[in-house]
């Protein structure tokens, strides 16, 4: 088995699917050159017809992809950064995601929007946001966020073969990460998570960029005799609720780790579901570890402080083991001081 980078795995998936199915094509800005190398070299094999460089017109390109998808093709639209999806939001939400349903099932929309998501490389506020919760909130979109090269290849192939619109998010901080990728053909199912490390004491649920932090935290906890079970959800929508609930039924403790912001973030959804459906199993209040609720700062020091770290996860896991909850009054004080911070007083 060869070790490959995340972006090399992406490129393999694209090349294999384009060879397999002539209706698959790649469209986006600089896909020929391949800014993140995930599309580099494909033009040499597939030519202008199937590797289409476009103007910097995210809205039109995203919508043209829908037009192609509803007339028989399977476009993979590369919009580069997750934040660039904001420019294309109307077409993705109102057309790609809605068309099948609002037209009463007359059509299907087999399209993949592919971007780099989240922060971690000092790209600054406009290129470093974890945008996935916005799309998790859109009915009938699928949202995939693999954490390693093996998953990236298998899930991208599944996304391209899926007849529904898929947002495929590669964590920006993991583009250069290497991992084992088999040479033989494989496809991973969308919607299935994976237990990365089994454990009996606490369930740590993560996806994408925060999986390495969750795993690192589990090692630190193990030194102290705490066995954490680490879950990588891999797909955010539809998500593997059963896997999480079964784990919580076993451990009785839950920590949700995600790079997105705390209010209506991915971790909020996982935690709410655990509270709703596994309350009887919980031995302590579930904990969320989210990105800090500020824009993404440039300084590496500041950016590290914003993104969930392994230490944050260790502390959250320990809070569930102590079982103690902060008194509500203290939380109010914390909230007031937060507001003072926001208003600059």
């Amino acid at each position: 088995m060869a070790k490959k980078t995340y972006v090399a795995a992406i490129k393999d998936a694209l090349a294999e699917e384009m060879r397999r199915d002539s209706s698959v094509f790649l469209i986006g800005e600089d896909v020929r050159l391949g800014v993140f190398a995930g599309t580099r070299g494909l033009h040499a094999e597939f030519g202008d017809r199937r590797v289409i460089d476009t103007p910097i017109s995210e809205l039109a390109v995203a919508g043209a992809g829908v037009g192609a998808a509803i007339t028989g093709l399977r476009p993979v639209v590369d919009l580069m950064f997750g934040t660039f999806l904001y420019l294309a939001l109307d077409q993705i939400v109102q057309q790609a995601a809605s068309a099948r349903y609002m037209f009463g099932g007359q059509t299907r929309v087999p399209i993949v929007y592919m971007v780099q998501n989240g922060g971690g490389i000092s790209a600054g506020a406009h290129h470093s946001q974890a945008v996935h919760p916005i799309f998790m909130n859109v009915p009938l979109l699928k949202v995939v966020m693999p954490s390693n090269p093996y998953d990236a290849k298998g899930l991208l192939k599944a996304a391209i073969r899926d007849d529904n619109p898929v947002i495929f998010l590669s964590p920006l901080s993991l583009t250069g990460v290497r991992g084992e990728v088999p040479d033989e053909e494989y496809v991973l199912p969308l919607g299935k998570g994976e237990i990365k490390r089994p454990g009996r004491d606490v369930t740590i649920c993560s996806a994408g960029a925060t999986v390495p932090a969750a795993l690192k935290a589990s090692q630190t906890l193990a030194v102290e005799g705490i066995e954490a079970e680490v879950i990588d959800l891999r797909t955010l929508k539809p998500w593997d609720e059963a896997l999480v609930l079964e784990s919580v039924a076993k451990t009785g403790r839950f920590v949700a780790v995600d790079e997105s912001k705390p209010i209506c973030g991915a971790a909020s959804e996982w935690t709410a579901t655990v509270a709703e459906k596994a309350f009887a199993y919980l031995k302590a209040p579930p904990q969320r570890v989210s990105g800090k609720d500020v824009a993404s700062p440039f300084s590496p020091v500041l950016e590290r402080a914003v993104i969930p770290s392994a230490d944050d996860v260790v502390m959250a896991a320990k809070r569930t083991l102590l079982g103690a909850q902060e008194p509500i009054a203290q939380s109010h004080e914390a909230r007031d001081s937060n507001q003072a911070l926001v208003h600059g007083s």
Binding site: I52, L59, A60, G67, F103, Q106, L140
Partner: protein, 322 residues
């Protein structure tokens, strides 16, 4: 132009007019949920353009989309049932007036967002070129949409890729309740084509035959691989932005009586009718018979919609992921 083509265009226009008149009545009677935007006064554009298309060509429509569906060959019963929100409607009651689509005739959907459908037509054109067919795609939109980013991005994208797309701006002089000249930096939308290196054509949108000629030329160009054309069809919106608008405008007036009277005079259906009679193309009684048949079909569509079942609540989870 041969007589059959002229009668074909007139028939499409009359079908739109009689359908829309009935929808206006039903809405006023409170029989239709939601809101509707009527195409009355603009029939020459949809009819003239669609008469220049093949059945396998694509169109993408707007919030004022009933006319486009009918002109492309849509079915009265399924349209009317959709307006009533019934299970037998085009979208099984999930779309409504602003989301009627008929993929079987290349009608890729009305669109509730101003300018939202334009990129889809570019994609349908791209798809035709990719598959090596000579199909074309038409994007209908209004003067208001020409101030949206999607319009400008789409024209540029279609132009650089030389895609078989015809952009048809139905300039009815109002974006909702605001006159075009207040919010648009140019007098003619067609001049915006210059910025994208494609032909921009102005046509009298109340003259169906002129619209047909302009569309036929643009379609031929697109099929020939010569790229997109922007057609600006200048027209009048006979009614309001939306039916029942007097109620929510609460007495607010945005158009003068003179202007409304002018719109009545420039009725595309009357213009076409007079011309056909004057040219002795067809006997008046044959036209009356045609009108009668269409009116009858509209009445049957209303009856069909009324007797159709509502969707079952369980249907909310149908037509989701496949």
């Amino acid at each position: 132009m041969d007589n059959d083509k002229i009668l074909d265009i007139y028939t499409r226009m009359l079908r739109i007019r009689r359908f829309e008149e009935q929808v206006g009545i039903l809405f006023a009677q409170g029989q239709l949920p939601g809101f509707v935007h009527l195409y009355i006064g603009e029939e020459a554009i949809a009819a003239g353009v669609c008469a220049a298309l093949r059945d396998d060509d694509y169109i993408v429509s707007t919030h004022r989309g009933h006319g486009h569906v009918i002109a492309k060959g849509g079915d009265f019963n399924r349209m009317m049932a959709e307006l009533f929100g019934k299970a037998t409607g085009y979208c099984k009651g999930k779309g409504g007036s602003m989301h009627i689509a008929d993929f079987s005739i290349g009608m890729l959907g009305a669109c509730g967002i101003v300018g939202g459908g334009i990129p889809l037509a570019v994609g349908a054109g791209l798809s035709a070129a990719y598959r090596g067919t000579d199909q074309v795609a038409v994007s209908f939109f209004g003067d208001g949409a020409s101030n949206e980013g999607s319009f400008h991005e789409s024209l540029n994208l279609a132009a650089v890729m030389k895609l078989p797309v015809i952009f048809v701006c139905e300039n009815n002089r109002y974006g909702e309740f605001t006159p075009m000249e207040k919010v648009t930096a140019v007098r003619d939308i067609a001049v915006r084509a210059t910025g994208y290196g494609i032909p921009g054509v102005i046509v009298d949108g109340t003259d169906a035959l002129a619209v047909y000629d302009a569309a036929a030329a643009a379609v031929a160009r697109a099929r020939n691989g010569e790229g997109p054309t922007l057609i600006e069809a200048k027209t009048h919106r006979r009614g309001g932005h939306a039916e029942g608008e007097k109620a929510f405008l609460a007495g607010g007036v945005y158009r003068s009586q003179e202007e409304l009277a002018e719109a009545q005079l420039k009725d595309p259906l009357l213009i076409m009718h007079r011309r056909m009679v004057a040219m002795h193309l067809i006997a008046p009684d044959v036209l009356e018979e045609l009108d009668h048949r269409i009116t009858q079909a509209v009445a049957e569509a209303v009856a069909f919609a009324r007797r159709s079942p509502d969707p079952e609540p369980e249907a909310i989870y149908e037509d989701t992921w496949i």
